[in-house]
C-alpha cells in the first residue's frame, strides 16, 4: 500500500502540469467549500460572542408566564411566587456549575430620576451585595456597596459610567443628591463593566439584535425597592457560571431550585434565558444561505471528479503495456485495480490538501479585505480532505476496473 502511494507520487510528479490541471477542479471545489464554511463559522462565532460576551458567563434567570417573560414593571405581583432571601441565594451558590449568584430587581426605562433639572430615563436596579462581582462591574469612582449600606438602610446610589455622563455632564457625581421616585439618594460611586465586549455591528439587523441602547443604569440597595416601588416583588437572579459551556446547565439548575423553593404551582415559573439557544437560532439563519453555496461548490467537485476519471482513462490507455507486463509477471487483478485507485485517490487527496490551503488563504483574505468574519474549522478541513480522497476512489473506480480487466496478451501487443 505504502509502495503504491510512493509510486503514485512518482507518477504524478512525472506529469506535473497534467496532474495539477487535473487537480484544479478538486482544488477549486474544496477551496470554495472551505471558504464558505469558514465564513459560516466566523459568523456564528461572532453571533455567540455578541450575545454571550467573551468570558462573561452570566445567565439571567427570570420569571415567565407560559414561556413568555413576565414584565413586573407594569404587571401586578404574580400569585404563588414569594420573594427570595439570602438563604435561597446561598443555596444557588452551592450548585455545582455556579460560581456566584445575585438577586436583583429592575425597572427598565424608569422615569422619575432627576439631578437638578436633568431628567434621566435609564434602567433602575435594586441589587444585593453580589450584583457587581457577578456581573463583572468594577468601581471607577468612589466605592461600591458595603454591608452597612444594607444593614443601615442607607439611601445610596451607584451609577454606571454612561448614566453618570448623561446626568452629570462631566461634573463629579460623588456626593451629589439624586432624586429617585421623589426620594433623595446620595451618589457614592461610579462603576463600569470590566469586560466591555462591544458587539460587532455591521448591518441594521445586527444593530437591532445586539446594540445596547440603554441610557445607562442606576443601582440602589435592594431594600429601597419596598419604598420606591412595592413590597414583596419577586427578584430576578443573575448566575455566573464557572465556564461558558456550563452556562446553560447552571441557569437551568438555578431556575429549578428557585421554582422548588419559591414557586407554589401556577403558570408563573422561573426560567433561565438560554442565550446559546438564541445564538443557534441566529446561526441557523445565517448558515442557511451559505449552505446553498456549499451545494454549488459541490458541483465543482463533481466536475473535478469527472476530470479525474477522464485523465485516469487516458492514463490506463497510455500504460496498457505496463499493465500487460505486470499481469504477465503475475500481478493479480486486485493489485492493478488498487494501483490505479491509489493513484486517483492520491491525486484528489493532494488536490484536497491544496484546496484546503487555498480555502484558508481565501478566507483570511476575505476577512481582511471585506471584513467578513471567518474562522477556520479544523474538522471541516479534515472532512474536506477525506471527501476528496473518496472522490478519487469513486471516480477512479471505472478506469481502475478497466485497467484490471485488460487482457495481458492484448496489453503487451499494444505499442
Amino acid at each position: 500500500m505504502l509502495q503504491n502511494i510512493a509510486l503514485s507520487f512518482q507518477g504524478l510528479w512525472s506529469h506535473k502540469l497534467r496532474s495539477f490541471l487535473t487537480m484544479l477542479g478538486i482544488i477549486i471545489g474544496i477551496a470554495s467549500i472551505i471558504t464558505i464554511v469558514s465564513t459560516i463559522k466566523g459568523t456564528s462565532e461572532q453571533i455567540k460572542e455578541n450575545l454571550i460576551g467573551a468570558g462573561n458567563n452570566v445567565v439571567t434567570v427570570r420569571l415567565t408566564q407560559d414561556g413568555n417573560p413576565l414584565e413586573l414593571s407594569y404587571m401586578p405581583l404574580p400569585g404563588g411566587v414569594r420573594p427570595a432571601d439570602e438563604e435561597v441565594r446561598a443555596a444557588v451558590d452551592q450548585l455545582p456549575d455556579v460560581r456566584e449568584s445575585s438577586l436583583y430587581r429592575v425597572r427598565p426605562y424608569a422615569g422619575n430620576i432627576f439631578w437638578k433639572n436633568n431628567a434621566f430615563s435609564g434602567d433602575l436596579y435594586g441589587v444585593d451585595l453580589h450584583y457587581f462581582p457577578v456581573n463583572g462591574y468594577q468601581v471607577r469612582l468612589g466605592r461600591g456597596f458595603t454591608e452597612r449600606d444594607f444593614s443601615e438602610y442607607r439611601k445610596a446610589a451607584i451609577l454606571d459610567a454612561r448614566a453618570a455622563s448623561r446626568l452629570f455632564e462631566g461634573e463629579n457625581p460623588l456626593g451629589m443628591i439624586l432624586e429617585i421616585q421623589s426620594e433623595p439618594y446620595t451618589v457614592v460611586g461610579v462603576v463600569e463593566k470590566e469586560n466591555k465586549n462591544a458587539p460587532a455591528i455591521e448591518t441594521m439587523q445586527d444593530y437591532y439584535l445586539y446594540a445596547d441602547t440603554s441610557a445607562g443604569c442606576v443601582f440602589v440597595p435592594e431594600h429601597a425597592w419596598n419604598v420606591l416601588f412595592r413590597y414583596d416583588e419577586p427578584q430576578m437572579l443573575a448566575v455566573r457560571a464557572e465556564k461558558t459551556d456550563d452556562m446553560a446547565r447552571a441557569g437551568r439548575d438555578a431556575a429549578d431550585l428557585l421554582n422548588k423553593k419559591l414557586v407554589s404551582g401556577g403558570a408563573v415559573q422561573y426560567e433561565a434565558v438560554n442565550l446559546l439557544e438564541r445564538a443557534s437560532e441566529l446561526e441557523a439563519l445565517a448558515g442557511s444561505a451559505n449552505t446553498q453555496l456549499i451545494w454549488i461548490a459541490g458541483i465543482s467537485l463533481l466536475v473535478g471528479g469527472i476530470g479525474v476519471m477522464n485523465i485516469m482513462m487516458v492514463s490506463v490507455t497510455e500504460r496498457t503495456r505496463e499493465i500487460g507486463l505486470k499481469k504477465a509477471l503475475g500481478a493479480r487483478r486486485t493489485r492493478i485495480l488498487w494501483q490505479f485507485l491509489t493513484e486517483a485517490a492520491v491525486l484528489t487527496s493532494l488536490g484536497g490538501i491544496m484546496g484546503v490551503a487555498g480555502g484558508i488563504g481565501l478566507a483570511k483574505m476575505l476577512s481582511h479585505v471585506m471584513s467578513i468574519p471567518t474562522a477556520v474549522s479544523i474538522p471541516a478541513c479534515l472532512v474536506a480532505v477525506a471527501f476528496s480522497t473518496v472522490i478519487g476512489l469513486f471516480f477512479g473506480l471505472v478506469p481502475a476496473v478497466k485497467a484490471s480487466k485488460l487482457n495481458p496478451i492484448d496489453a503487451l501487443r499494444r505499442e
Binding site: G11, A328, L329, R332, I409
Partner: protein
Amino acid sequence: MILEMRDIVKEYTLGRTASRVLDHVNLTVEEGEYLAIMGPSGSGKTTLLNLIGCLDVPTSGSYVFAGRDVTKLSQKQLADLRNREIGFVFQFFYLLANMNAIENVALPLLYQGVHKKERMERAAEALRTVGLEDRMKYRPDQLSGGQSQRVAIARAIAARPRLLLADEPTGALDSQSGAQVMDIFDMLHRSGSSIVMITHDRNVAARADKIRTICDGVLAEEAVENE
C-alpha cells in the same frame, strides 16, 4: 516433465468467421530441456507462447503445467502460476521506466509478497547472475539494449521459476549484444534451467537442445536434435 500439451486448438472469432491459429498441437517439455520453437511470422508461434505462458487458455485440448490442469484454473490462479513458475523474456524487454534495474527485477517477488529485504537480496543475486551487479540503480533509459535485456532476464529468473519463456530475446539487439544474451541463456541452461525460446532466427535456435518448427498453426511432431 514440466508441461504437456495434448491436441491444443486455439481459434479466434472475428465477426462471423473463426480462424484457427493453432491446430492440434502436442508438446511436452522435460525438466532441464532447452527447446527452440521456430516459425515464420504468422505461423502461430506467439499464440503458442501465450498458451505455454498461461497468458491465454486454449479453445480445446488439454494443458498440464507442473501437474496442474491449466484449462481449469481461475484468472487469479493463472496469475499466481505465471508469477511462481514462469519467467518471461520479451523481445522489447518491457522494463518499467520509473523503476531502476533492481526494482524491475524484484517486481515478480513483490507480487509473491516477499519481504523487502529478501526481495532486494534475491534481485541483486539475479542481477549478479547476468553480470550487471554494477548497474543495479540504473534506470532503463540509462541502459543499453543488451543491458536492458539482461535486466529482463534477471527479472525472469529472480523468482526461480520452473520454466524460462523467451520470445525473440535477441530480436531487438545488435549481434554482439544478442550473442551476450544467448551466452546467458546457455549458462542458465547449463545450471539446470528449463527454457522454451521462440524465434525465427536459425542461429539463435541452433543454441537449443531441440528445435521444433511451427507453420500455419501446425507444430511439427519431429524435433531436430542439436548436438
